[in-house]
């Protein structure tokens, strides 16, 4: 059953000539000690029935504030609409009282959010949360609301909708939760759906499914969608028209085709230029082939398992097989990328390599073999490997000055005098593109990109052979991301450091890596040079992964295949059981593929 049939049998409204939603001169301001500060200024937009309007921009551009203003959900009392009008059909939203606005919310205008993990109430069942959305607007019996909630779940192509009704959010995967959010938002057949970064937190294959679903439902229901996103690939695939925002103002508005092919504004051009694209980099001229002993890390047959359920005597009954029989080498000065979706074990490998989790099998860093106990690995070993994490704010102690943070590894290893260390920190600051007089500032005084540069400087302090970059650019805006990637490459050229680059973003991996290993459920399914993996993917999973990446080119839209959102295969097994071991086969020139390929 489709949502249309489920909710309003037979009632397909006649096409409306006027816009469904129009915003005129919208200004949203926040009250601060320094007076009213505008977050969004003089924004106008119109949205036609059945159309998708993308609002694109980097963090701080005011795109999310705009959507909250339309929903009447601005955080009171500090943030409010200070000028402009918002009209939904014939209704002037800015003139409504809170209770009038409430009756529209979820009924005529609905919203889905970025984090499906936190956007559903953890203590209520999926069914009750959807039924509640229906009962908030229509006086129907509990049974009626329940059956309509079930129909809504079925309409978002969730497998076993009957069972999902009684499940709690934590029992569902991220993609399934976002489907639930969509079912909830569309249950009342709203005229307008605002989707605020709906797929940003999802894996790329799941993102593909959710985007396809949104487009299908839009076609069925004629809902107008405002899609808020920072991802130009998603914009290209989904939007009819695009508004580019920067610092609270509209920079450019255009049909999607002309925006991508002939951007009018310099900012738009910059933004599009910064977007990483698969296959737009020439192969790196390889350094003179290093001798065979110039590896910085060797892994063979590495296994990491975590017990998750213990029986009476503390024996594990179930185990997460996070990493299964993984082996690869990282050569001096190269960038080796590990790609895969969340839960595939890529970060666990990184943690095993720095001795943070116990493993079996062999990990050698610069010829020195790790004990595998997960604790107390030799300091000399830790000196050779450093890490840069995803969230630089969380990785920097907010109460330490930047100079202290960068010099701390030297202090821990007892290198140099206090003034030596400070001089080295100053050097490193310069090296990563920051200035020396910022040494005494605190992390919160820097932007996200600058903080990640500080983390990189800290990782470089000990002159390591290998830096493990675990999703190090994933949280950054594209323009910042491009600059940080450039910095990483420069530093590599200059210092000959090797990177283990862990990422879920295929375009970024294509941009920076020399060799790539694709992981799925704890095992490597394919490994080879960047060109081998990206131009000649042999394993079905690698192909699926590459195929799912949104292409930042509107003329490249493709047909999708229908796939119901079911359960994700799990790496959890009973003690004594485990996944079948994949064997990698060379299909030519060191390109390794699991199974038949």
């Amino acid at each position: 059953m489709t949502l249309a049939e489920a909710n309003q049998p037979g009632a397909v409204p006649a096409p409306d000539p006027g816009p469904v939603l129009s915003v005129e001169g919208l200004t949203v301001s926040v009250r601060t000690e320094a007076g009213l500060q505008p977050l969004v200024q003089d924004l106008s937009l119109t949205l036609k029935r059945g159309e998708t309007l993308a609002i694109a921009g980097e963090s701080g551009s005011g795109k999310s504030i705009t959507s909250l203003a339309i929903m009447g959900l601005l955080p009171p009392p500090a943030v409010r609409v200070t000028a402009g009008r918002i009209r939904l059909g014939a209704t002037e939203l800015t003139a409504l009282t809170e209770s009038e606005m409430r009756s529209l919310r979820g009924d005529r205008i609905a919203m889905i959010f970025q984090e499906p993990m936190t956007s559903l109430n953890p203590v209520l069942t999926v069914g009750s949360q959807i039924a509640e959305a229906i009962r908030a607007h229509q006086h129907v019996s509990r049974g009626e609301a329940r059956s309509r909630a079930l129909a809504a779940l079925a309409s978002v192509r969730l497998s076993q909708p009957e069972r999902r009704m009684a499940q709690y959010p934590h029992e569902l995967s991220g993609g399934m939760r976002q489907r639930v959010m969509i079912a909830m938002a569309l249950a009342m057949r709203p005229e307008v759906l605002i989707a605020d970064e709906p797929t940003t937190a999802l894996d790329v294959t799941v993102q593909r499914e959710v985007l396809d679903l949104l487009r299908d439902l839009q076609r069925e229901l004629g809902t107008a969608i405002i899609l808020i996103t920072h991802d130009m690939g998603v914009v290209a695939e989904m939007a009819d028209r695009v508004i580019v925002m920067k610092s609270g103002r509209k920079v450019e508005e255009a049909a999607v085709g002309s925006l991508f092919h002939a951007p009018a504004e310099p900012y738009t051009r910059e933004l599009l230029a910064a977007v990483p694209r698969i296959g737009d980099r020439p192969d790196r001229t390889l350094r003179p082939d290093a001798p065979a002993d110039a590896t910085v890390a060797e892994l063979s047959d590495v296994v990491v398992r975590f017990p998750i359920k213990t029986g009476w005597l503390g024996r594990a009954a179930l185990n997460v097989h996070a990493v299964e029989h993984v082996g690869f080498d990282i050569r001096k000065g190269e960038t080796f990328a590990l790609v895969g979706e969340s839960g595939c074990g890529k970060s666990t490998i990184a943690r095993a390599m720095v001795g943070l989790v116990a493993h079996s099998g062999r990990i050698a860093i610069g010829g020195q073999v790790l004990t595998g106990q997960g604790r107390g690995e030799a300091r000399s070993l830790r000196r050779r490997v450093q890490m840069v994490f995803q969230d630089p704010m969380a990785a920097l102690d907010p109460r330490m000055r930047v100079g202290e943070l960068i010099a701390e590894p030297l202090l821990i290893h007892g290198i140099g005098s206090a003034s030596d260390r400070r001089a080295r920190a100053a050097d490193l600051m310069l090296r990563v593109g920051l200035s020396q007089d910022q040494l005494d500032r605190y992390p919160h005084e820097f932007s996200g990109g600058q903080r990640q540069r500080i983390c990189i400087a800290r990782a470089l302090a000990l002159k390591p052979d290998l830096i493990i970059a675990d999703e190090s650019v994933s949280a950054l805006d594209v323009s910042v991301q491009a600059r940080v990637l450039g910095l990483l490459k420069e530093l590599q050229e200059e210092m000959g450091v090797a990177y283990l680059f862990i990422s879920h973003d295929m375009a970024v991996v294509d941009n920076i890596s020399d060799r790539v290993a694709v992981m799925y459920l704890g095992q490597i399914v394919e490994m080879g040079t960047r060109a081998q993996i990206f131009t000649n993917p042999r394993h079905a999973y690698t192909r699926r992964l590459l195929d799912a990446v949104p292409v930042p080119d509107p003329s490249h839209r493709r047909q999708h295949r229908e796939r119901p959102g079911g359960e994700v295969p799990s790496p959890v097994y009973r003690t004594g059981e485990g996944p079948g071991r994949l064997t990698l086969r060379d299909v030519g020139e060191g390109h390794l593929v699991a199974g038949a390929g």
């Binding site: 919203m111 959010f113 109430n121």
Partner: protein
């Protein structure tokens, strides 16, 4: 589930043995001499020694504790030195009164504390919030006997709405229970306030509002069940502090429970009773914690007991 409860009960038994040891040591090194209390001021040195020998108090510590533990494991908590009655019997006869006061007191402190906390969170930063938090500060810092006596004076002596003391009817229960409620409400209101403020910022609250739910439904249906979780864990821990309050309140209101029994026993160094009441209180705390842990998964399905 049954396995979990069994494991927790075995742990609890070990905890109780540990508590019996610590209490026994503390009473052993106490400078007060129970034999002096029994014999009276005028007793001769010989009488005192006789009594000491009869009670086995002349034995070394290890022997004394060994005997006590051996008896305890058979369910025998010994005899009161002064009342010449089995301690088990004394405690059992007074336990119903204490349990009654305890349940009424816990209900009172939860109703008061939670509603104050939720109200303060919703009025965050405004005058009402500050007023409520000031009130909670007063209740947290007020001594137990002051609150008891104040309520007793105003509502029993001056207004005559409730009996001055004693036990039996619902009217007797009101003042002591309200006293306990007021004393405990400060902690709960502060905890509930901060928990509620945090939950109100959560993404799922925004989702609930985006669905068009009314403010009341958002608070009661979505925020409260999430905000109450840390409070539930607190109830288990709080029973220890609560038992301390009960000793004072029972004494002030003449409530014939084990708190009053303990108070009298402490004054007269009646060691078997002190030991018995301590162990029963410890048991209450252990059971309270177990119940809190068992209730938590009913509120939050993500919690698994293992």
């Amino acid at each position: 589930m049954a396995g979990y409860i069994l494991r927790r009960l075995v742990q609890s038994a070990l905890i109780l043995v540990g508590i019996s040891f610590v209490t026994f040591v503390l009473l052993y090194v106490l400078p007060a001499d129970p034999v002096r209390q029994i014999a009276g001021r005028s007793a001769t040195a010989e009488t005192v020694e006789n009594i000491r020998r009869q009670l086995g108090l002349d034995q070394p510590f290890v022997v004394q504790y060994g005997r006590y533990l051996a008896a305890l494991l058979q369910g025998d908590m010994g005899r009161s030195y002064l009342q010449k009655t089995e301690v088990t019997e004394l405690i059992l006869s007074r336990l119903p009164a204490t349990l009654q006061l305890m349940s009424a007191g816990i209900v009172a402190e939860l109703v008061l504390g939670l509603s104050m906390g939720v109200a303060a969170a919703l009025m965050r930063g405004r005058a009402g919030d500050q007023l409520l938090m000031m009130a909670s500060f007063v209740t947290v810092s007020a001594p137990q006997f002051v609150v008891s006596l104040l309520l007793l004076y105003v509502f029993a002596v001056k207004l005559g709405w409730f009996p001055i003391g004693g036990y039996g009817t619902a009217a007797h229960l009101v003042l002591p229970a309200v006293t306990l409620g007021i004393l405990g409400s400060g902690w709960y209101s502060r905890m509930m306030r901060s928990s509620m403020i945090e939950v109100l910022r959560a993404d799922y609250i925004r989702t609930a509002r985006a669905k068009g739910l009314s403010g009341l439904r958002v608070v009661l249906g979505h925020a409260l069940p999430n905000a109450i979780l840390p409070v539930v864990a607190m109830i288990g821990i709080d029973i220890g502090i609560f038992m301390g309050g009960i000793v004072v309140v029972e004494s002030v209101f003449g409530w014939p429970g084990i708190g009053q029994l303990a108070w009298q026993a402490i004054q007269r160094v009646d060691i078997p009773i002190i030991m018995g009441v301590t162990l029963v209180s410890a048991l209450a705390i252990v059971i309270g914690n177990l119940l809190a842990d068992l209730v938590a998964p009913l509120i939050d399905p993500r919690i698994r007991l293992r």
